[in-house]
Amino acid sequence: MSRSMNRSMNKLWLIIRREYLTNVRKPSFLFTAFGTPLILISIVVLVIIISLSSETNIEELAGVGYVDQAGVITPEARSEEYPDLFSPYASEEEARAALDSGTIDAYYVIPENYLATSQVQLYSNESMPSDLEDVFDEFLVSSFLSQITAEVPSTRVLEPVEATLHIESTGRELTEAGITGIILLPLLLAVVFMIGIQLTSGLVMSGLTEEKTNRLIEVLVTTVTPMQLLAGKLIGLGLLGLTQIGAWLVLLALVAVFGPSIPFLEGVVIPLDLIIFSAIYFILGYFMVASLMAAIGVLVGSEMESRQYAGVMSIVLAIPIYLTAAFLSDANGTVPTLLSMFPFTAPMSMIMRLGFVNVPAWQLALSIGILLLTALFFLWASARIFRWGLLLYGKRFNLREIIAVLRGNPDQVSQPETRSLKKEAA
């Protein structure tokens, strides 16, 4: 008994190993796994940089407070362009209360040692237009100019402020230079995810289509059980996907270590929670899509037709990437929230939301729950369809037959060869 268990585990392992090794060596895999995300991400970053620089809107801010602990701001201080933008607060507590009540959208704290260091802190609940610092510079300079004395070094007039942004809603901290980083990381993860799921589930499908087209499937199912074949493929190619994700995470870890010396990436932090949720979403997303693709692969049996299904799937998977702008402007808004609940867009959407904002715990739980149930359903359905579909040749399957198979009555469905015979006989 245990020997036959060993034997069947051994067969499963052989299939896993073959699927992994033959595919990991393909140049097309290496290019798609690593080249495509780089190209895609460069395009997206370019688009973001262009759109961010054009959409800065200081006018839309309710107001910006400041707490002047250094005593450098005189009543004469004013901004030419936005005379009413800045308002003073006696303490950080008061400013914080005003921020929470919505009277202001952000506040600066100018610490006592400001004149020596130029460091100030900017507190807000969201990212601030990059122009704001220029406006605040101007505001301070106007104050300095009104009281120019020997105590104010001329360098402070030329370069008055370097701010560190504290995003209170997520607790992440960034210097100005790292702002690109916080957008980049979740987006990169989302793109790598999308490519990873698409690529590996595509390999599940094309592998099965090949085996079906060349009838190797008949030899395989008389050697292993259909379930060993399905599981071996799903696991082998899932490991391939994890390898790809893993390689990216190593790359990101290197960035985290060496990032501070790269100006563009300075200040990027890779949060552990994001990585853990990445793994959960990738695995669930992969099993859902891959088992669906396995069922399609086994039903269609022609490479050209199966590519069409893969094409539709990749469009659906990429929806969150197309809507990156919606995630950037308000990651807790209706569209990103809905997308993170719909199982096919959930992995990519949730990774971006988790990177940008604090996602309510119940939404995270609901999203994972829906994804898990969908993945389990597709696994079950795929296993059902698999055995029936393996030997179905040369005909189009229809929904009625698939439902009959899912309900466990595959025998009521006729096979193609005999069906044409029946017609002849009649």
Partner: protein, 321 residues
């Protein structure tokens, strides 16, 4: 069931919807023998093979393979060559064979060793590291045949093993099949090539429209279809010989006249009558035993073009052409 029996198909039926694909088929396959499955296209051969391989379940009846219902470990003792063939295209020949060999329970090393030996024998030794897609169609077929034999199965199921092969490669494959039989393997072989059955097979079953039309040893089947008649070549007035009911003159390639005998008269009686007759001399005298090809056409008559089947008499004549 005896220890010599490899497969028992016991009154098996299978329907798809209302269509009866296999109807009460019943036969046994023995070790160390080649068992031929005959029948026109779509007769139910492939369905029967798939049920033996447990790809499909019969509606009624039972199938025993290598001593009982097919178990996972017994699957490793079977080699199966499907009718329509193919292999992974972008994989090296040796990797392909090794993978299939290990799935059948060989160690990696052993699978590789046997694969190389078989490739040498099939004169494909130099192509071991080529990709499958680089081989000719005939060579791909030989590689697939090697994959079927690699693990030296106890039961070999071959669907049209030599179709599409040139005569030289057909001989190579034929020799390998015979060698497997000689080492005790039970071989089930479906084929349309009757000469192959007469040359190679020990026993046969013929399935037509899902039903078992013929079953037995090749000789049994042929004699069952023997007419109560003899073919005679020579000089004489055959119609006047005692016991001859009717004479059908020599036609086409039969090479003799067909003499139908009275029920009580045996061919021996007729031979004696000819010998004692001063007016007759013979160059050839043989029983009217049809070839398997003739029997095949007679049993699967509906599949034969109509012009051959105008009357029963002509149908019999067809059997001797």
């Amino acid at each position: 069931m005896g220890t010599n029996t490899a497969v028992v198909v016991n009154h098996v039926s299978k329907s798809y919807g209302s269509f009866r694909a296999v109807d009460d088929v019943n036969f046994e396959v023995y070790r160390g023998q080649i068992f031929a499955m005959l029948g026109p296209n779509g007769a139910g051969k492939s369905t029967t093979i798939r049920m033996i391989l447990d790809i499909m379940k019969p509606d009624t009846g039972t199938i025993s393979v290598l001593g009982g219902p097919l178990t996972a470990s017994n699957k490793d003792r079977i080699g199966y060559l499907p009718e329509e063939r193919g292999l992974y295209r972008n994989v090296k020949v040796i990797e392909m064979l090794t993978y299939l060999g290990t799935l059948k329970g060989l160690s990696n090393k052993e699978a590789q060793r046997r694969a190389m030996a078989l490739l040498e024998e099939l004169e494909l030794g130099t192509r071991a590291k080529s990709k499958v897609s680089e081989l000719s169609k005939g060579n791909q077929q030989k590689v697939q045949f090697a994959a079927t034999l690699l693990h030296e199965p106890d039961l070999l199921i071959l669907d049209e093993p030599t179709s599409g092969l040139d005569p030289v490669n057909t001989l190579v494959i034929k020799d390998l099949i015979m060698r497997m039989r000689d080492r005790g393997t039970a071989v089930v072989m479906s084929t349309h090539q009757m000469w192959q059955v007469e040359e190679m097979a020990d026993r046969l079953v013929m399935i037509n429209k899902g039903q078992q039309a013929l079953y037995g040893t090749v000789d049994e089947v042929r004699h069952k279809y023997a007419l109560h008649a003899v073919i005679v070549e020579g000089e004489g007035d055959w119609a006047r010989l005692p016991g001859v009911v009717r004479v059908e003159p020599n036609r086409n390639n039969r090479g003799g006249d067909l003499l139908y005998l009275e029920d009580r008269v045996t061919p021996n009686d007729l031979l004696a009558a000819i010998a004692s007759s001063p007016h007759a001399s013979i160059e050839r005298f043989e029983l009217a035993v049809p070839s398997l090809n003739d029997i095949f056409i007679r049993v699967a008559g509906d599949e034969v073009p109509e012009e051959f089947l105008k009357s029963t008499q002509e149908r019999e004549a067809v059997a001797y052409e």
